[in-house]
């Protein structure tokens, strides 16, 4: 198995079309603060994961996302490995 430590950055957002109440509230808040031209805000979650070993990293990360970090019924995820 490959050694070393890798950092994975995961972003989880709601699928398009799913109600994003936080995003809407933040958009309103920005407008109330006087920020003009904010067309849309989408809110999501971010995870920075330090992982041991480099083998099968994609599979491992996908597993974590599908089984835990995201609810794929309503959320989508993307990640990059640093």
């Amino acid at each position: 198995m490959g050694g070393g430590v890798r950092t994975v950055r995961v972003i989880v957002t709601l699928k398009p079309g799913v109600l994003d109440a936080p995003g809407q509230a933040i958009q309103k808040g920005l407008a109330a603060l006087g920020h003009a031209g904010v067309r849309q805000v989408r809110a999501g979650r971010y995870f920075e994961i330090e992982l041991d070993g480099t083998d099968g990293l994609d599979d491992r990360v996908r597993d974590m996302c599908e089984g835990f970090l995201a609810n794929t019924l309503i959320e989508q995820y993307r990640y990059d490995i640093v």
Partner: protein, 242 residues
């Protein structure tokens, strides 16, 4: 005496606070809609608990954009008294009217239960009817009540004696086991240096009636009433910042 209770669209302890102030204690209270731009004429303003604007960013963050919260700064400068309860406390932090910041409870969960509070400072408008060391039994109900203060601001907090309440045991002992949310130094309530602005996580309005929750919380409201009716002014304590 005229106590204003600010109503944000997502406030949900506004009616409870009003009930405690008016029906139980017999003081004059009035609701203040969040779009109000002036707080003039009010002897004190209470920011009640709830979820002001849904609290989808950080608790209290979006509330700082409202006219009523923006009016707080001039109101305080002009000698006004402000009490922030739970979400109101979070809002005062976000608005920069009190030092520190809130994080989610260490448990990661909402907590609704009775806690004990040790009175650390009894010369504020909200605690003048208490003695230092008095233990109050009052409930909390929050998901984000872990009070943190950045290291650089800690000396000032101590020097100005800004910690007004700490979580403690029934006998007044401050131990990690009775800290319900992981707050730094078991801090449950913080005031401005003069004491004119107080924020606390527990809900005194829920402990203002013998039949529901006891009457320890009423002592905070009656302190405020005593302060206002006797015409006392908050005084700056001597400050030593190291």
């Amino acid at each position: 005496m005229n106590i204003g209770i600010v109503v944000f669209p997502g406030s949900n302890c506004d009616a409870d606070t009003y009930h405690a102030v008016r029906d139980v204690l017999g003081y004059h209270g009035q609701y203040v809609w969040h779009e109000e731009r002036s707080l003039a004429g009010l002897d004190a303003v209470i920011l009640p608990g709830g979820f002001s604007y849904g609290d989808y960013l950080r608790a209290g963050a979006i509330a700082t954009t409202s006219p009523a919260v923006r009016a707080l700064k001039p109101y305080v400068t002009g000698g006004g008294l402000v009490l922030g309860i739970c979400n109101g406390f979070q809002t005062l932090l976000e608005a920069g009217l009190l030092p520190g910041a809130m994080q989610p409870n260490l448990s990661g969960q909402f907590r609704c239960e009775f806690v004990h509070l040790r009175t650390e400072r009894a010369d504020t408008p909200f605690t003048c009817g208490l003695k230092p060391g008095d233990v109050l039994r009052i409930p909390i109900a929050h998901a984000e009540g872990r009070y943190l203060i950045e290291p650089a601001a800690r000396p000032a907090l101590a020097a100005h004696r800004q910690v007004v309440f700490r979580y403690c045991s029934a006998h007044g002992a401050v131990t990690p086991a009775v800290n319900p949310n992981g707050s730094e130094d078991a801090i449950a309530g913080v005031a401005s240096p003069s004491g004119a602005v107080l924020g606390l996580m527990p809900h005194p309005e829920r402990a203002s009636d013998e039949l529901v929750g006891g009457t320890d919380g009423a002592r905070i409201f009656s302190s405020l009433a005593m302060w206002i009716t006797t015409g006392r002014r908050p005084s700056m304590q001597p400050v030593e910042v190291h």
